[in-house]
Structures are given as structure tokens and as C-alpha cells.
């Protein structure tokens, strides 16, 4: 049963649509990875779910269902309870998302006071426990520090402590490790995974880094120009990509020293999108049919044969795999 389900989500800034009908769902304890290049709408998805779209952005159509209740139609007062309570968010840069004037322990406690209705005294004690849970060294003294006194890795741990303080049903992590070095990135990913399995949280991980997405996601949604162009189990999407864009992205990753296959051209500007498949101008498989924009359709032929290597980890999971490309049409007989 999905905790969070997004149906036909459209987000517009004036007459420009940055999300053009997105469907997503994520189950408790599972991770959905959203991958795409800048401007593809992946961050807007997170902000729309949180009800934090920057002005003048608005949800033009679609539903965002948390346990079946549509957040798009909720009142702002109810959304304030949900934000930080049922749905928490971790941003890329903890230095700009933490309050520089407030001790980090109090910032964790504030979330507990607001959402768990504890007294400040009790919340401060719980905050120290929470900082211990995210493995901040000497939590008692760290709680009294200000963000600028912490390293980048410690600040991100504090952000995660705040996010998990109220046992959210859903955590949205938008590029949580992009500002960090690889060794810290590995630490933070492991920490997120650990807290997620303790609290059975549904996680949406947004990143441009396919390696990061691949290492923690159960399912992956590939974004291009405001749409999901491919969706499926991580192993299928990464080892048997069906959409030419996904194939191109994976081929442009360096592996060894053979020459890189780059995708020609550049991502489209959402203001000037024409009709038809938005990837067509860059696609080497483009044909007449591509004048009509394809929707997501099953791509079951593109199932990784390697799945058995991963043991039973995947067996209980929904094995569907789909791509928005006419090439996969009719491959499922």
C-alpha cells in the first residue's frame, strides 16, 4: 500500500508548465529515486508535495495523496501540521536551510515541540537523543552549538535529526549529499538508510547523481522536461534501460577509458517546448511517430536478467517497468 501517491501532477509558473503530468508512488520503508538533469522538474516535485512551491508556481492539476487524502485541497493550517510532521524534507545545503541564529539542539527541539506537543524542557532532552541517533559526536555539547561551528557533514546530520524527529511517514531528500565529499556522502546515505528502516519511512530521494540514486533506491523515476520518461525497479532502469534518454545518460557516464557517448544538444527550455516527444530532437531513434508525445507504457521486455544476482531482495516487489517512448510499444506480447 502506497503511503504517498502523486497523480497527474502539473505545476505551472504563469503559462509555463514545469511539471506536465507526473505520476509517482512510494511505499512505507521503500525508496523512490528521482533522477534527472537541472530544470527537469525533479526539485519542483518535492516542493509541490511539501506545498512549498515558490511564487508564482502553483499546482495546476493533479492530486498528491498522503494515505489517500489529497494535500492539494488541504487548508494551509493543516499543511503546516503535515510539513515537518508527516512529511519531512532534507535539502541540499544544510548551511542555508538551518537557522544560523539558533543553537542546533533547539532547532531539533523546535520540531518536537511543534509536532509532538512536548514541553521545551522535554523536547531538548529528546533532541539530544535524536542527535545521538544521527551519530553526531558528543551530542550534549553539539546541541549547544550554532550551525557555523559544525562541519558540513555534521550540519547535514543535524538536518536529518530534525527530519526524523517527528517520525515522518514520508521523507523527501533533495540532493542530500551533493554538497558533501564522497566519504561523507557514503556516511550520510548509510545513516538515511538506517533511520528509514528503523522508522519504516517512505523516502523520495532526488538527485542528479545516478550512482547515488542506484545505491539506495528500490524504484527509480527518470525525469525529462517535466515528465517521467521511465519508471521501474532500480535494477531494471539501470541495467536494462528502455528509454533512449536513460540509455544515453548511462552511456555518457565514464566507465574505464573508452570514449564517452554523449547525448547531442541540450535539455529543452520548458518555455519553448513544442508538441511531440520532448526528447525527439536529441534522439537518434526519432521517427514519424515521435510527433505525438508518448505516454508511459509497459516495457516488460526490458527486465534485467541480472535480477537473480540480487537474491530475494526484489522478489516481493512490483516488477513493473515502463517508459514513455514509442520504441517500447508492442514489445510486450
Amino acid at each position: 500500500m502506497s503511503v504517498l501517491e502523486v497523480r497527474g501532477l502539473r505545476v505551472a509558473f504563469g503559462s509555463t508548465e514545469v511539471l506536465r503530468g507526473v505520476d509517482l508512488e512510494v511505499e512505507a520503508g521503500r525508496t523512490l529515486g528521482i533522477v534527472g538533469e537541472s530544470g527537469c522538474g525533479k526539485s519542483m516535485t518535492g516542493l509541490a508535495i511539501m506545498g512549498l512551491l515558490p511564487y508564482p508556481g502553483r499546482v495546476a492539476a493533479g492530486e498528491i495523496l498522503l494515505d489517500g487524502r489529497d494535500l492539494v485541497r488541504e487548508k494551509e493550517s493543516r499543511l503546516r501540521q503535515i510539513r515537518g510532521g508527516d512529511i519531512a524534507m532534507v535539502f541540499q545545503d544544510p548551511f542555508t536551510s538551518l537557522n544560523p541564529m539558533m543553537r542546533v539542539g533547539d532547532q531539533v527541539a523546535e520540531a518536537i515541540v511543534l509536532h509532538r506537543k512536548e514541553s521545551w524542557k522535554r523536547a531538548r532532552e529528546l533532541a539530544i537523543e535524536q542527535l545521538r541517533a544521527v551519530k553526531v559526536p558528543s551530542p550534549e555539547s553539539t546541541a549547544k552549538k550554532f550551525p557555523h561551528q559544525l562541519s558540513g557533514g555534521q550540519r547535514q546530520r543535524v538536518m536529518i535529526a530534525i527530519a526524523f524527529a517527528c517520525h515522518p511517514r514520508v521523507l523527501i531528500a533533495d540532493e542530500p549529499t551533493t554538497a558533501l565529499d564522497v566519504t561523507l556522502q557514503a556516511q550520510i546515505l548509510a545513516l538515511l538508510k538506517e533511520l528509514q528502516s528503523e522508522q519504516n519511512t517512505a523516502v523520495i530521494l532526488i538527485s542528479h547523481d545516478i550512482g547515488v540514486i542506484g545505491s539506495v533506491s528500490d524504484r527509480i523515476a527518470v525525469y525529462y522536461a517535466g515528465k517521467v520518461v521511465e519508471e521501474g525497479r532500480a535494477v531494471d532502469v539501470l541495467h536494462a534501460p528502455a528509454h533512449p534518454y536513460t540509455q544515453g545518460l548511462l552511456a555518457s557516464l565514464p566507465s574505464g577509458q573508452s570514449r564517452l557517448q554523449s547525448i547531442q544538444g541540450q535539455p529543452p527550455d520548458p518555455k519553448t517546448l513544442g508538441v511531440g516527444c520532448s526528447f525527439a530532437v536529441r534522439c537518434s531513434f526519432c521517427h514519424e511517430k515521435c510527433d505525438v508525445e508518448p505516454g508511459l507504457m509497459p516495457a516488460l521486455k526490458f527486465r534485467a536478467d541480472v535480477a537473480h544476482e540480487f537474491g530475494n531482495q526484489w522478489s516481493s516487489e512490483d516488477g513493473s517497468h515502463s517508459a514513455a517512448c514509442w520504441l517500447v510499444e508492442g514489445t510486450n506480447v
Binding site: T183, V212, Q261
Partner: protein, 315 residues
């Protein structure tokens, strides 16, 4: 062996900061031959960008020498500018937003009294895959990939024998990154310039570099041919660094975790700089810093190196 383009000897850069002294680059010696790419990898604060700045003359060397094509250019800014090109991470910040592309590319040519700066600018734009018709545009009118091409064109305008690249693809999207990496490789093949390539992105480094130097707290802890260093790291830090980068072969598996963070660089410890986080630490490691051990064409600073055959494959 081809001509040596860059040699640093015991290069040291010191920052005086409240609470102490940081030796951001601490006795770095390296050599770079024509047509070769040496990548310097390491995490934030390891000194890789400071090293690049010192070689460019943007940071004063507190000690040591920088030799470009046999000329000692330590502290000689003009001599450096002619011989060393630079491509920074963010072309939006490194290009003057109120100058046209043509002006930005021609500037080094004018300064160094090139006879036909405009013609040469057109030529170098073509070489970097830019339409010379963009000459009168401004940086904000170009895409990210085009801007980085402009930065590369500017760096190569004077045909420098050495080009420093400081994270040249970090700000670019994946599909554009591949285009720029291919361009850098093509340009090197056609003019056999040397690249000193600074990056924390190991996948990119593996693609572009002939040799790799791994830095930690101002020191090169391991250096050698790319295939050897990636395939069989000898220094435990190199091994940990490689293991913590996610790879697509291991879908659904978290990268290995190296505990701890880079210690305060103001505090100098007598032993190995990596000893506070090292899983192989023994008493000797905290007593004195290991010297560089040379093995063929590679070197490392470790008393208890990872043995090539037994352990590196197990990670």
C-alpha cells in the same frame, strides 16, 4: 619520455588563520609531461585547489619551486600567464558577464600582444566547437555547456603547454559533461598540451587521466598510473575513497563507509595524517610520518600498504 612541462619541487603554501597555521599544500613534488593528464583527487580541504592556485601564481608559495618547460616561474606572474591556461569550475562566475564572448577569448591574446587577436579567437572558437557567430553574445545568452567551451577557448587561446582544469565539469549536467570531457580529450590529442586535472569526481578522473595523485591534508599520499591506482590502491585512504564512491555495477548496495571526517588542519600531528581515520593504524603510524615509498612508476606514503593481490579485490 617526452618533455617535462611542469615540475613542482617541495611546493608549500601556508595560510595564517586564527588559531594557527594551515599548511594547505605541504611539500608537493610532481612532474607532468607534454600530452599527459595528471589528475589530483581528494576531498574538500585536501589542498588540491590551493595547489592549482599556487601553480597559477594566485597563491604565494611559502617554499619550493615551480618549473614550467625548464623555466623557474615561481612568483613570475607574467611568465606563468603565458604558459599556463586555466579552466575553472563555474564558467558563469569565471567569465565577465558584461563582456562579449569574443572579448573574453581575445583578452589574453591582446595582453600578450598577439598580432591578430580576433582571427585567433575565431580559430580557437572553431576548435572548441563554438559557432564564431556567437562572438558578440554575452555569457548569459549561452547554455552551460557553451559557456564552459568559451572558458576552454580562452584558456587555450595562447596555446599554453600546460592547462589547469579545476573541476571543469562539476557544474554541468551529465549529458553535457560527456561532451566537454570528449572535447578536452580531443584538444589534448591535437595539440599535445598537458592537463593538470583537479577533481573529486573519481569516475571522470578514471576516464580522463593518465596518472592520478591522491591528496590528503596537503600531502600527496599516493601517485601512479590511473589503472594501477584505481585497480589496486596501495594507500588505505585511496582504497577508502574508491570504495565510498557509488557505482552502477552495485545497484541497491550502499557504498562502503569510512568513519570520521578530515581532522582540523591547524593541529599538526607527528605521525601519518590519515592515522586518525585509518583502519590499518598501528603504533608506528602515530609516531612519525611515512616517507614516500617508490615502487616502479608509482609511490605512496604508508607503512602498511594494502597489498596488491590479496585485499584490493576483496573490497
Amino acid at each position: 619520455m617526452s618533455e617535462t612541462v611542469l615540475r613542482t619541487e617541495d611546493l608549500t603554501v601556508v595560510y595564517h588563520v586564527p588559531g594557527g597555521v594551515i599548511r594547505a599544500v605541504d611539500g608537493v613534488s610532481l612532474e607532468l609531461a607534454a600530452g599527459e593528464t595528471l589528475a589530483v583527487v581528494g576531498e574538500s580541504g585536501c589542498g588540491k585547489t590551493t595547489l592549482a592556485k599556487a601553480i597559477l601564481g594566485l597563491e604565494r608559495a611559502a617554499g619550493g619551486k615551480i618549473v614550467v618547460q625548464g623555466n623557474d616561474v615561481t612568483g613570475d606572474l607574467r611568465g606563468l600567464a603565458k604558459r599556463v591556461g586555466i579552466v575553472w569550475q563555474d564558467p558563469y562566475a569565471s567569465l565577465d558577464s558584461r563582456w562579449t564572448i569574443g572579448d573574453s577569448i581575445s583578452e589574453p591574446l591582446v595582453i600578450h600582444k598577439h598580432p591578430n587577436p580576433r582571427e585567433r579567437a575565431v580559430e580557437v572558437m572553431k576548435e572548441t566547437g563554438l559557432d564564431p557567430g556567437l562572438m558578440d553574445r554575452y555569457p548569459h545568452q549561452l547554455s552551460g555547456g557553451q559557456r564552459q567551451r568559451v572558458a576552454i577557448a580562452r584558456a587555450l587561446a595562447l596555446n599554453p603547454p600546460l592547462v589547469l582544469c579545476d573541476e571543469p565539469t562539476a557544474a554541468l549536467d551529465l549529458s553535457i559533461r560527456a561532451q566537454i570531457l570528449n572535447l578536452l580529450k580531443d584538444l589534448q590529442a591535437s595539440r599535445s598540451c598537458a592537463y593538470l586535472y583537479i577533481s573529486h569526481d573519481l569516475m571522470t578522473v578514471r576516464y580522463i587521466a593518465d596518472r592520478v595523485a591522491v591528496m590528503y591534508l596537503g600531502r600527496i599520499v599516493e601517485i601512479g598510473p590511473t589503472g594501477d591506482v584505481f585497480g589496486a590502491p596501495r594507500h588505505p585512504y585511496t582504497q577508502a575513497l574508491m570504495a565510498s564512491a557509488p557505482t552502477l555495477e552495485l545497484v541497491g548496495r550502499l557504498p562502503a563507509v569510512l568513519a570520521g571526517e578530515i581532522p582540523d588542519p591547524r593541529v599538526r600531528v607527528p605521525g601519518c595524517r590519515f592515522s586518525s581515520r585509518c583502519p590499518r593504524r598501528q603504533d608506528r603510524c602515530v609516531e612519525a610520518e611515512p616517507e614516500l615509498t617508490i615502487e616502479g612508476d608509482r609511490g605512496y606514503r604508508c607503512y602498511f600498504p594494502v597489498s596488491a593481490l590479496t585485499e584490493s579485490n576483496a573490497v
